[in-house]
Amino acid sequence: MMERKIKRFTKWKFPIYLNRRQRALLSVFFAVCLLVAVGIGGTLLESRALSTSLTERNVPPSFEHPFGTDWLGRDMFARTISGLVLSIQVGLIGAASSVLIALSLGLAAATWGRTADRIISWLIDLFLSLPHLVTMILIAFVSGGGMKGVVLGVALTHWTSLARVIRAEVLQLKSAEFVQVSRRLGKSRWWVASRHIFPHLIPQLLVGLLLLFPHAILHEASITFLGLGLSPHQPAIGIILSESMRYLSTGMWWLTVLPGLALLTVVRAFDRIGDHLHLMLDPHRSQE
């Protein structure tokens, strides 16, 4: 007698069987909760982040100060959370700008004719031929540093792959039969665009944004760490970490390890959401 059953994964904690998509939803839910908590925490802890206390300098992590305090007595936990919120904001603006650039150039490449397509493809190749960080350093220098430079740098380095995806999608859609039939039936370009093309593009844009966003945060932190980004007055994570370097040899490890871990967790949470969404929308792999 031959019997072959598929393996079913049951979470060891719960007796209920959850299929892969349901598990994905669960992890996305937790990720979203985490991010909301960070956001709320950021607004609540803003004042604590900046207040110094000369009596409580260089305190290792304790109940009162879960992340310890720094050389000025500032509570590191509050500082980290505010820093995260700031990095997230900058990352979001940068990522959103990047997506806009990608959308415009991708659409233009697909709909403005062969010459526009060639120019834009050449532009994409150009931007891809430099390491991201080098481009960002150049742009940061050119714009005199500060938030402007970071956002611009992030926006100008991350649009390339999304633009390619959008270009490919629109090209494919344009030549798809159902679009051509609609055109033959006399529907205007706008109608075709809004009914056929945009619904296909929106999930791609969303996924693109969600996948781009964590990278933007990481790059912002890196540039700020190098000293080319936000000014030291705004406590972004990059600043926190670069300042912590000075105190490493004195053994104040909590200035480095904990904020870094916090950044890692937040970026991971975003990545996870993006990955799961991407997997669900990819027709080849959505049935796993």
Binding site: L126, L130, H132, F225, V257, G260, R268, D271
Partner: protein
Amino acid sequence: MQLHWIRFLVMKILRLASLLIAVSVISFWLVSLSPVDPIQAYIGADMLRVGTEQRQAIASYWGLDLPPMERFIRWAAALLHGDLGTSMIYRQPVAEVIHERFSNSFWLMASSWILSGIIGFVSGVIAAMKKDTWVDKMITWYCYTLVSTPTFWIGLMLLIIFAVWLGWLPVGLGVPAGVLAEQVTIEDRLRHMVLPMLTLSIVGIAPIALHTRQKLIDVLTSEYVRFAIARGEQGLGLVLRHGLRNIALPAISLQFASFSELFGGAVLAEQVFSYPGLGQATVEAGLRGDVPLLLGLVLFSTLFVFIGNGLADFLYQIVDPRLRGGGRA
């Protein structure tokens, strides 16, 4: 056959030339828009003590008082003669600075490139072969976490653990401080290179492993592997025979395309360990407004990435018979 390779080389060189021209024009133009006053950056805090005449002299020495177009032409002309200008920070010809720093960075980047390539590839293959087992889950969890981690933080962690706590390895720089150049041994150099190299390697493994794993899974679920199984092939032999051949190409192309990420990672790793490489020079040039050096570095990194992609293309052509122009019967 020879003709094919000659054409390939010529096309590549032409592309490189046009790329470098475009990059130099655009970056020069960008730099000329910068609000940063190069003279100020050069002199630094002593600005107030320098008189107007002095400033004028400095400006004309560095050619900063000419209009942008002329400056560009002078620079480009010099470029074609192999003269990249003089660095304002290091007071040396830019070409020399790049050469010196690249020799430091080269070993760093090469060793971590090889290490992360090998470990990443092997982990990816193992994860795909043992899909959905705890081995696979561990490897993918590690990789996904690492992809979300800033490179410089890994460097800082390594610094804390190995240099501060354990004291096994030096805290930074390329050579021991206060030691005469002639007395620096290879061992010293290696010891100073270990931590930055580990940083780059650890981070580099993740995308390679994930990519390899996904590609191997795609191969193992493909129609031709299914038919191979139907013909009685199984186990490691099956994977080696069909799997490796078919993931070799994507693996190669990924490996060589990672030159770009490698350079970026090197910038961060060198900064953490104050390692005197190309990355650190780029940061200094950006921070202190050293335009000739910055432009030279931009061009150099373009060349670097281009060579990486070019090598990938070349290897692709060798390995894939479909690209070599075999026609249909």
